[in-house]
Symmetry: C2
Subunit: 160 residues, 2 copies
């Protein structure tokens, strides 16, 4: 191995090591949050009101755009039930950044979403945007949502 | 003191104790986040582009409604500069829930905002909504914004 190759390899190894050290927080907890984030999405995909609402912490709130904050289990259930009624409704999201504190009981997931449904005229409405979800580990070890907030990347309807 | 009074006092003491024990996380860190949250607001009130952008973590992103995510110092500065140009622009926010992890390096602030400006016709546009900001303690001890996201409580403009 030439010296230049050794230096190049060393540089790569150092870069990887630095990148790993830049990973602050608790990876195990972050993995658990990522898993909860995707299980929550599965509950929405299954249009399961109870399962989707079960991911909310007792004092959790959902901040949907162009509507007041929704807090409390019954209010969250109503919102989900309304959404699930939309024709051909589809909601998926992709966490792009998930982190948890070193102490492993608070963290967040953040990423992009895609949302679509058919309006009364049968036209497909496509929306995409971004979200932040704050998670807190509960006494029973499950991760639940303290705050969930999202908004659209697209101009308001009047500007379409 | 009658027995009924003693019982009542005991109940109050117990309720306060339970409430305190329900306060999870790191109160000192939460206080620091609340302070940073309000200092950030002061930088916006002063229409100080550099100071307001200085609250962003190096990889921090702002998720404003009806626009793509804004990431990176220059992009955040541009967004602030555009906002500060709006006639009579006023932005205030009130954190209603601030928490930090026990380990004291990750936390969030969440609450309500009020935003107003004059449109080209001179009419005041009033908006109010809610926000979630994820904060991370930096190597130098300062708290900076990893993710900031907000949306309006009001119906979209086309529905006003």
């Amino acid at each position: 191995m030439k010296i230049s190759q050794t230096v190049a390899l060393f540089t790569v190894v150092l870069a990887v090591a630095l990148d790993a050290s830049a990973q602050t927080g608790n990876q195990k907890a972050a993995d658990a949050i990522r898993k909860a984030d995707q299980q929550w999405m599965a509950a929405y995909a299954a249009k399961d009101v109870d399962k989707s609402a079960a991911f909310m912490a007792p004092d959790g709130a959902m901040y949907a755009p162009n509507a007041p904050a929704v807090q409390g289990l019954e209010a969250v259930k109503s919102m989900a039930a309304e959404m699930f009624k939309l024709p051909d409704v589809k909601l998926t999201w992709t966490p792009t950044l998930v982190e948890a504190a070193k102490s492993g009981e608070i963290g967040f997931s953040s990423g992009t979403y895609a949302f679509s449904f058919k309006d009364p005229s049968g036209k497909t409405i496509d929306d995409k945007g971004k979200y932040v979800t704050v998670w807190k580990k509960q006494a029973d070890g499950t991760w639940k949502v303290v705050r969930d907030i999202f908004n659209s990347d697209m101009p308001p309807p009047s500007m379409h």
